[in-house]
């Protein structure tokens, strides 16, 4: 009984996670400029990652694997915003798109 509940929970988490990952990939393609894409991609990966990893944790049960999974998650949650931030800053400093009208259309950067 308990086992089934856990595995259903895990399935739910995994499915939501996959749904989110698709969502953000589409956002990555759909959004008009770099910064908005960034919202779609780098950012939202964090929840999507969280859901999938948690889903896996439930599958694994209490073991070292769980701990490793949590490490991965923690690592992602530390690095991913840092990397996004560094990227945004670099783009900003390069003068990229303070005004988005200007570049939604063109490929010059």
């Amino acid at each position: 009984m308990w086992d089934t509940l856990i595995s259903y929970c895990s399935y739910a988490l995994l499915l939501t996670g996959s749904f989110l990952s698709l969502t953000f990939a589409i956002g990555l393609l759909r959004f008009p400029d770099f910064y908005t894409r960034m919202h779609a991609a780098g950012v939202s990966d964090t929840l999507c990652a969280g859901l999938i990893v948690l889903g896996l944790v439930l599958q694994a049960g209490i073991s070292l694997v769980t701990l490793k999974l949590l490490f991965i998650l923690l690592f992602l949650w530390f690095t991913s915003p840092t990397a996004s931030f560094a990227l945004a800053r670099a783009a900003h400093r390069a003068g990229y798109g303070v005004n988005e009208q200007q570049e939604a259309s063109s490929s010059n950067s």
Partner: protein
């Protein structure tokens, strides 16, 4: 079964990300795509480990995450230092 669905969803997402990396248009879009791609592959590896019943390969996922982070920073370093400022308009 659900794991397979997740894996496929991730693969599709990876393909879409790849499309963004190919389309560009700016270099930052590409870096962004590469970075996201890295995260996706980390997740995929995790799921794949469970799919093949060998979850002890998570170390690889951890390494991917690490390498991905460092190479993104390495890339950005060149922009920050004004080295590869911005490409002149191409063509």
């Amino acid at each position: 079964m659900i794991l397979a669905v997740t894996a496929i969803a991730l693969l599709v997402a990876m393909a879409l990300t790849l499309a963004r990396a190919l389309l560009g248009p700016s270099i930052f879009d590409r870096i962004l795509a590469v970075n996201t791609f890295g995260t996706k592959i980390v997740l995929f590896l995790g799921v794949y480990g469970f799919l093949t019943q060998r979850p002890d390969f998570l170390d690889i996922a951890l390494v991917y995450a690490l390498i991905n982070f460092i190479s993104t920073l390495a890339v950005l370093r060149f922009f920050e230092s004004g080295q590869l400022v911005m490409p002149k308009d191409k063509e």
